[in-house]
């Protein structure tokens, strides 16, 4: 038996990684189906802070929650006594990722938490980083 064969959509893999943003929403009242969108829409451009938050940006509280802080802020600050990723916060607080980033952006703006950016893939990868990950996995 032979397996089914993949037919590439294009003959050559075209050059790499332009992030593809979701297509802009057409104005209301148009007949054709619209692109999917997030339930929570936010002003992403305002200070750019939201755009910088990755699933694995690590969030650390700068101080203990103050009395009078909102329950949501208090909850995040309690969880972030040790570094915790945005994804983990979203999971523990049962909030969609986009809603979580809004909450965290407020806390960053108020200087109540610190965000530690992830190390992302580079065109020329950092060999010592890759070796560290390999050694970490080998110890597992």
């Amino acid at each position: 038996m032979t397996p089914p064969r993949r037919k590439r959509r294009r003959p050559q893999p075209p050059p790499p990684p332009l992030p593809t943003p979701p297509a802009p929403e057409p104005p209301d009242g148009q007949a054709e189906p619209k692109n999917p969108e997030r339930l929570y829409a936010f002003a992403e451009a305002e200070d750019g802070a939201r755009a910088e938050l990755d699933l694995v940006t690590l969030i650390v509280a700068r101080s203990a929650p103050q009395p009078g802080a909102s329950p949501e802020h208090t909850a995040v600050l309690r969880l972030c006594v040790a570094p915790l990723s945005v994804a983990e916060l979203s999971a523990y607080l049962n909030l969609p990722f986009s809603a979580m980033t809004v909450l965290i952006t407020e806390l960053i703006t108020a200087e109540l938490v610190q965000a530690r950016a992830p190390i992302v893939r580079q065109a020329l990868p950092d060999r010592s980083l890759l070796e560290a990950v390999m050694h970490g996995l080998q110890r597992l």
Binding site: R8, V56, P71, R78, L84, A87, R121, L124
Partner: protein, 206 residues
């Protein structure tokens, strides 16, 4: 949601706290069709209980038009399982199990752009469901390896037969696995890391 029940606030166990010295995270994405073993793989290697992050997506123009002139919207919740592995006291690795349909990927900005690389999990009973994913990863320049999850009743093909079927370059690793076993999942991840390392070496030579 009730954020006030602070005593019962869910959170990591104390032994699951990352050290304060942790400076940064890296991520690897495990991608494949429904039922191919993504959740199982995340669970078998994660050092924390696997968690789920969700995003809600609305799609206009789908559903039943029950009111004249009103826009109908349907909400779809897309979930992604993830786990974590401590690498050093400064570095931590996250693994995300992601649905194969590209139309969901934008929900998590940078999910693939920032990842070190990806594991494409395939089931030889439904090889064709992963064709599209490979196209998309190639387009985005995300390096990946193929992990063939061995289900008992699945057809078995020789690696070179799979390589031809998947139209993959000779350097892209194809590895068989049983992701229910930690050692096997770990092997898959190490195969990806060695592949990334070889890319780094050849890039440095070029």
């Amino acid at each position: 949601m009730d954020f006030n029940g602070s005593d019962t606030l869910p959170g990591p166990r104390t032994e699951d706290h990352l050290p304060h010295t942790t400076q940064a995270a890296v991520k690897i994405v495990i991608v494949g069709g429904f039922g191919v073993g993504k959740t199982t793989m995340v669970g078998s290697v994660s050092e924390i209980r696997p968690l789920t992050t969700e995003e809600t997506m609305t799609q206009a123009g789908i559903g039943v038009d029950d009111n004249y002139g009103s826009d109908t919207k349907t909400a779809t919740t897309v979930a992604m399982d993830f786990g974590r592995i401590g690498i050093t006291d400064r570095l931590v690795l996250y693994l995300f199990g992601t649905p194969g349909q590209e139309r969901f990927w934008f929900l998590w900005n940078g999910l693939f752009e920032g990842a070190l690389g990806a594991v494409v999990l395939v089931d030889t009973r439904r090889l064709e469901v992963s064709f599209d994913v490979m196209d998309r990863l190639e387009e985005r320049g995300v390096p990946f390896v193929i992990a063939v999850n061995s289900f008992p009743d699945a057809p078995r093909y020789a690696v070179e037969e799979l390589r031809t079927a998947l139209d993959l370059a000779p350097e892209i690793p194809i590895i068989e696995c049983d992701v229910r076993r930690r050692a096997s999942s770990k092997d898959v991840l190490l195969t990806l890391m060695r592949f990334l390392h070889s890319i780094a070496l050849s890039g440095a030579r070029a």
